[in-house]
Symmetry: C2
Subunit: 331 residues, 2 copies
């Protein structure tokens, strides 16, 4: 490029980046030559020089325990990924998806991003430890429950949402609310459970809850119903709050199959709406956590960290939107 324009690399760099001082005409000529020969500075060389590639990493931790990388019907994380990509683009960054860069056999490039967004980290998550040790900026979406105040974190407000939904179920006629959570040890599962137990203690209800592995997906329906309505079904619930939309679908479907009417005998609600909750029959009441907004805020926060600006922590997730549907509306 420098040769093509008949100047030094220094001058090319100055002209194209508007740094030093370059005579107007020289800059003009350099730009023209660049356009003509289709010159694009190497992102890699620039990255080496600036120790910044213009690359962000998105680490969706729950994928680590799910059976496939993007399981069917988990649109929450897909909406996260799409919005994160777009937001990154808008700020001049590319975005790559990696699962766990600390795993053996992971490409070195998995750790080459300028910063990371880590969704739903586990308790004492080794990925966060690694990023911290490498001094790579990152934002946790949902706290590491063992180290709540150590990292820049978006509070996803699972506890508030649990209370809000339980109260909705009660106002819809529930007298005994059960809870279904996943088994990953993250803030989403554990804060929801704790909020539920608190609520039970407060209103004097005997807690009834079960943790089912995320990878079970809709199969959680059968498992939960066996637990709630099998054998000694004396204390059977008349409402269930499931964190995952797929669990809620599974429960609604399994309940109907067993002759338990939804919503007349059992109210069902989901903490994070999946697409099928809108289209199945009956449709299922769910929160829309606004994953697009979550991803946007998290990406913008990590970019600020990368660029040396301050980020308040914890900062809040957008408000969850409660979509009322057939599964909690008795007529």
């Amino acid at each position: 490029m420098a040769r093509a324009a008949g100047v030094s690399p220094t001058t090319v760099s100055h002209a194209l980046n508007g740094k030093g001082v370059v005579r107007r005409e020289t800059e003009e000529r350099i730009r023209q030559v660049a356009a003509r020969i289709g010159y694009r500075p190497s992102a890699i060389a620039r990255g080496l020089r600036n120790s910044r590639l213009g690359l962000l990493g998105l680490i969706i931790r729950p994928f680590d325990t799910l059976d496939s990388f993007i399981p069917a019907g988990v649109d929450y994380f897909l909406r996260i990924a799409g919005s994160a990509s777009l937001t990154a683009m808008e700020h001049g960054y590319s975005l790559m998806m990696v699962d766990d860069p600390s795993k053996r056999g992971r490409p070195v490039s998995a750790l080459a991003a300028d910063g990371y967004v880590v969704t739903e980290p586990f308790e004492n998550d080794p990925v966060l430890s690694l990023l911290e040790r490498e001094r790579i900026p990152f934002v946790a979406v949902g706290a590491d429950i063992a180290r709540r105040d150590e990292f820049v974190t978006m509070d996803t407000l699972a506890d508030k949402q649990a209370v809000q939904m339980i109260e909705h179920l009660v106002s819809a006629g529930a007298t005994r609310v059960a809870l279904v959570v996943g088994t990953d040890r993250n803030a989403w599962n554990l804060d929801s459970r704790d909020a539920y137990l608190d609520w039970c203690a407060r209103v004097g209800q005997d807690p009834l809850w079960i943790a089912i592995p995320e990878a079970q997906g809709e199969r959680a329906g059968e498992i939960a119903l066996d637990r709630f309505f099998g054998e000694g079904a004396a204390d059977a619930p008349d409402a269930v709050y499931c964190l995952m939309g797929r669990q809620a679908s599974g429960i609604a479907r399994a309940a109907v199959a067993r002759g338990i009417s939804v919503p007349d005998e059992l109210l069902v609600a989901a903490g994070s709406g999946a697409l099928q909750n809108q289209t199945m029959h009956p449709t299922v009441t769910a929160f829309d956590l606004q994953p697009e907004v979550i991803a946007q805020r998290a990406v913008e926060a990590v970019i600020r960290l990368i660029e040396g600006e301050a980020v308040e922590t914890p900062f809040e997730a957008p408000e969850a939107l409660l979509h009322l549907r057939e599964s909690t509306q008795r007529v």
Copy 2:
């Protein structure tokens, strides 16, 4: 790192990469020091040296015309993205998603990948031209219809699928089959349409088809029904093949709303199943294009190109699986 181990960078490089010759004990010691201080070679420096970052790019072209980056209910591309990420990982690469790296204002890093998978390129797609000009290896998933034999391409077999589905509709009782495609000028839309027109000519049916912008999503239902059943509805169809699952949902829903029974009066089928086709009522017959397998094969092909191996072209997509559902089964 070299200092910490008391050897030269050369020896570190040799030891850690198993290249040159290093005394057993020296290598051992270097590995131990590396583990102790948590040394990881810089992917960027290595990338500059090898002109290879270990990074792949996934360019999903239809996003360019859709209204949001990842529209709700388009699980096809999400399954592509997930599987592509996973496959890349398994081969020692990371994967980033970009929309159009040739757009102004795109981060330079958007062109820093070692190779790209470009799904559903447009006719004379400028992205393919750019990659070719920059001599960056890439694989097209679906042909650039203006340049079918110029690039390494996966043939997605849209024409065969169209014929197969139309014949299924006929065997399910259709006497007049209409077609709904999108407006993007890509092989998926145009090859399907051509196959349909050929089929019409062959059996002597008067063609009845409409192209509706992809971004309309389910709203395509109303639009298509206005066209097929509005005003001069003399030649109304009794079956519709829609390429997109969302279009099929929209049509089935809109038909029922207008008092047209599905499947009794109108058979509906989709060329690429969306999740809601399985959960809505009636469920909609659709192809599962096996996007996971498509992505896996495409990623493996581009890796072979990057590593200098030959790739046959065109190579074939996996067989589309036909899922028969209520929308094409009269009882």
